[in-house]
Symmetry: C2
Subunit: 201 residues, 2 copies
């Protein structure tokens, strides 16, 4: 399939999901959004499930690109800016967070969705761990910090921000400030409080 | 409606949700589980949506009871044990977490589900805030700690644990240890490290 065709089908899938929700979306609804026939869709994707799993890969690619763009500067800057990238909603995808939460809720019922969640979780965890390791190596972060567990904590926390934002619509400002506080008090080495300038509050 | 009838319908709803998932459950499936007719169900609940919202209230009641049972001892003990209660799966409700995540994903589409999420969020936040306030009052927790923001952070974090457990099935042990670390380094007053005995790690 040509890149342009894939992109068109993925954008149509996104619009159809926004309109119908994950549970009610149909191949017909996606076909209507794309201006293609359902037969044309089925030529590329045997089933709705296969198309939706391809759509998750498409979302994951753009998520990883946003993380790559954010992952620059000192370890403290990288940490703050990667966290921010995980919490932000892409300008042109206001329903992104809702769709992602629906696919998380689907994971216990379907190994394809579960595998996808595990890959995203691994990616985020590895990225946080590498930032924490770099910070320890260059003396910014406390060497007593456990990079693996810290990365698990941060992965869990940004997932919690996402769920709470979708489920309640609440402002995450106070949670962001506490998260920066956590970085300051738990991760930063004692003599590196100058790094704290990057952190709010 | 008599309490026994309500309990029976709620337990049948739970079993039907476990079997069919939130998106696919029907009044007929719930009727089949309860041994009642769909007409009998409709006598008590006009629509499937109304029954499911009543079911959420039922789940919330048992959740609040579990939190009440856990909320005992010193502020540090209360904090650790309430956190644990939010993370534990009730023995007789192994699918509890999955069903709750599905209803969170439903919130952006339906004000009834959104209102429910806001009530649970408020309850958890108020409980954490009151524990932190009590800890500050009796000198266990650092008076510089902001009870409201800390409670928001904890509410978000336990929600993140729940989502990650359902979506990935990963063990939360390392996150629990980091959470105890957070309580130790961020909340405990400097001269109250003896309290840290309650905390793991």
């Amino acid at each position: 399939m040509q890149d342009g065709t894939r992109e068109e089908i993925m954008r149509a899938t996104y619009r159809a999901l926004c309109e119908h929700g994950y549970a009610d979306v149909t191949m017909q609804a996606i076909a209507d959004e794309s201006g293609k026939s359902t037969a044309a869709l089925h030529y590329h994707y045997d089933t709705k499930r296969e198309l939706l799993l391809a759509f998750l890969d498409f979302l994951a690619e753009s998520f990883v690109e946003r993380l790559d763009d954010a992952d620059e500067g000192s370890p403290t800057e990288r940490l703050v800016s990667v966290i921010e990238a995980t919490l932000s909603t892409p300008d042109d995808d206001p329903e992104f967070g809702t769709i992602v939460l629906e696919t998380k809720a689907r994971a216990p019922y379907d190994d394809g969705f579960r595998d996808h969640q595990l890959r995203i979780d691994d990616h985020l965890h590895a990225r946080f761990r590498s930032i924490v390791e770099d910070g320890i190596d260059e003396g910014t972060f406390d060497p007593a910090v456990d990079p693996d567990e810290t990365a698990q904590f941060l992965t869990t926390l940004v997932g919690g921000c996402h769920t709470r934002q979708v489920a309640t619509g609440r402002d995450l400002g106070p949670v962001r400030r506490q998260l920066h506080d956590y970085v300051r008090t738990t991760l930063l080495a004692d003599d590196r409080s100058a790094e704290a300038e990057v952190l709010t509050g």
